[in-house]
Symmetry: C2
Subunit: 346 residues, 2 copies
């Protein structure tokens, strides 16, 4: 592999100083003849600039880190998919961190900003602890958080609005004539679990429907857990005519159970999911669900960070992304698809 040519090698071969070589390579004003010689030497030697040395001197790495809990999670993937091209277009490389949902790992990532191997960080933490806040306050590079942070935290952040999301879904079910709308939620001690639970209750109240504890079932955000939860719920409250599921996987579990019990979807029970899984479109019946705009959040976060890197040092910004309801067969029935396609809907 050899030991690659450096600016010095080129200088010798071209018979000029390393300063001239550097100037030529950076397009600074130089005599035509010198440019020619340097370029020729560089070409012949197959020179490529050493990014590390350049970073050391210029204090810019042209790298940005994205830290998320789990590469496998479709919501993060949707973010990644949007972040990548934005950064690439701006000339930045993407360094990926998977924290495996371990808080200590997230703290590690924040700490490692001090190593200065990246110019900035986009992070989507599970939950925000005091240590997070402390480290954010003293971070050695700009950070954008995807998720909610306590009011007053001095950090740019991009958040979803699951409250409005739940509201959209419940209103939709109500409009379809459903009145026994149950909620299948994840753990209440998680940020999304708590928010979605509260929003559900609020939405019912605003619609003038009673809040019935029997219609609320807590499980976890996985398909198998969803099955268990929905089975219990149906045993306890067989009269439900709609399920508001706190995420897509729970909703898939719900479909499994309903099918096994011979309940038709949506005729007997309508089902709504939530999140940004592409599983929702693959299932049968395809799943109506509230998208929380992971893709948009990723994009917004990347753009916020780029602004900071271009020198913006104003007050922290907050962006909230609106949720969207995608109506599919699990509430609208199998015919929805034909209409959708006629209308050119996505």
């Amino acid at each position: 592999m050899g030991d690659g040519p450096t600016i010095t090698t080129i200088a010798e071969r071209a018979g000029v100083s390393i300063a001239s070589v550097s100037r030529v390579l950076n397009g600074l004003p130089t005599r035509q003849e010198t440019v020619r010689k340097v370029m020729a030497a560089a070409d012949e030697l197959g020179y490529v600039r050493n990014a590390v040395a350049r970073s050391l001197k210029s204090r810019r790495t042209h790298q940005i880190a994205f830290a998320m809990a789990d590469v496998g999670n479709p919501a993060y993937l949707a973010m990644l998919r949007e972040i990548q091209p934005v950064l690439k277009a701006a000339g930045y490389r993407l360094v990926l961190h998977s924290t495996d949902a371990v808080v200590a790992d997230e703290i590690d990532v924040l700490h490692s900003l001090g190593e200065r191997y990246v110019d900035g960080l986009i992070m989507s933490p599970l939950r925000v602890t005091d240590t997070h806040l402390q480290m954010l306050a003293t971070a050695r590079a700009p950070v954008v958080i995807i998720g909610s942070v306590p009011d007053g935290t001095r950090v740019d952040n991009v958040r979803a609005d699951s409250r409005t999301g739940v509201r959209l879904a419940v209103d939709h079910l109500y409009a379809l004539g459903r009145r026994r709308i149950a909620m299948v939620n994840g753990p209440l001690d998680t940020v999304p679990g708590a928010a979605r639970g509260a929003a559900y209750r609020e939405a019912l109240t605003d619609l003038g429907l009673p809040y019935d504890e029997n219609l609320v079932q807590i499980g976890d955000f996985y398909r198998e857990e969803g099955r268990r939860a929905v089975a219990e719920l149906l045993a306890r409250a067989p009269e439900v005519d709609a399920l508001m599921c706190a995420n897509d996987l729970i909703a898939l579990g719900a479909l499994d159970v309903l099918r096994a019990k011979g309940r038709r979807v949506p005729e007997d029970v309508a089902v709504v999911g939530m999140d940004d899984t592409d599983l929702a479109a693959a299932s049968w019946p395809s799943l109506t669900r509230v998208s929380l705009g992971s893709a948009e959040r990723g994009k917004a976060a990347a753009e916020l960070l780029l602004e900071r890197l271009q020198g913006d040092d104003g007050d922290p910004k907050r962006v909230t992304v609106a949720p969207r309801l995608a109506i599919r067969a699990s509430t609208a029935g199998p015919d929805y698809e034909r209409t959708q396609r006629k209308e050119g809907g996505a």
Copy 2:
């Protein structure tokens, strides 16, 4: 944000030389008293080692690049998911490149190895051109290719075996008593398309079944295209009793069309997919499919690369990952699930 403490700051505060600081930080033998002073100073200042300067001197970045065509593609995602923890455990960071299926971008990535911002590269190219081969031969860092390369190419590579994969699927369908087994393929000028088409023909021949051109339909590797292709196929050859689909998305499209036409799956038509999408398990009926071991390939690639980085400079290695058939409802019927779960199968 301040301008972070350096080894010099620490040296001053601790009243020692920078060499001593460096030695302490690297755990080289040092007098106890000095260690104490340096550690104290480092703690008080909140010192973190500058990774860039360290890399410049040590010629190691502790970063590895992974280049793939598209972040959204589940097969690459499966690789990524396995690569990440392997690298992390070995103390490497992951730099992600998405080449958008553009050959020039892949070449760019290979070229940029010269910048020395990573210690090695894992790449999963669409197709391997002469330029690829040329650049690989002169690459300035170890590279592992996920995919096939021409015999004799001096590069480590990890490949799938879609030929055997198709064989597994066709044999399975045959064993179920199916004799009119059709193939829905992607474009024949892609590497996978060609290989899978040939393998299908070969498998039929070996089973003593005739190869009937009417039973082969070419589309593209997308769901919508799959729908179109299967609709055409069914119109032309209504008697088919099994569909071998060249990927999962095509298979999902097939399910859509069969359902719309009132053909039962698997009673009337059995369907097999191929690839590593997690959509296959979400669909209804859940999809029997051949996994090409993307996850295993990713893991193997990461491990090969790590070996190289530990100084192995032996001959290029080739790893072939065996495909696996996952039998689900689209061939085994809705009861498969109960048995699966009883058996504790994945």
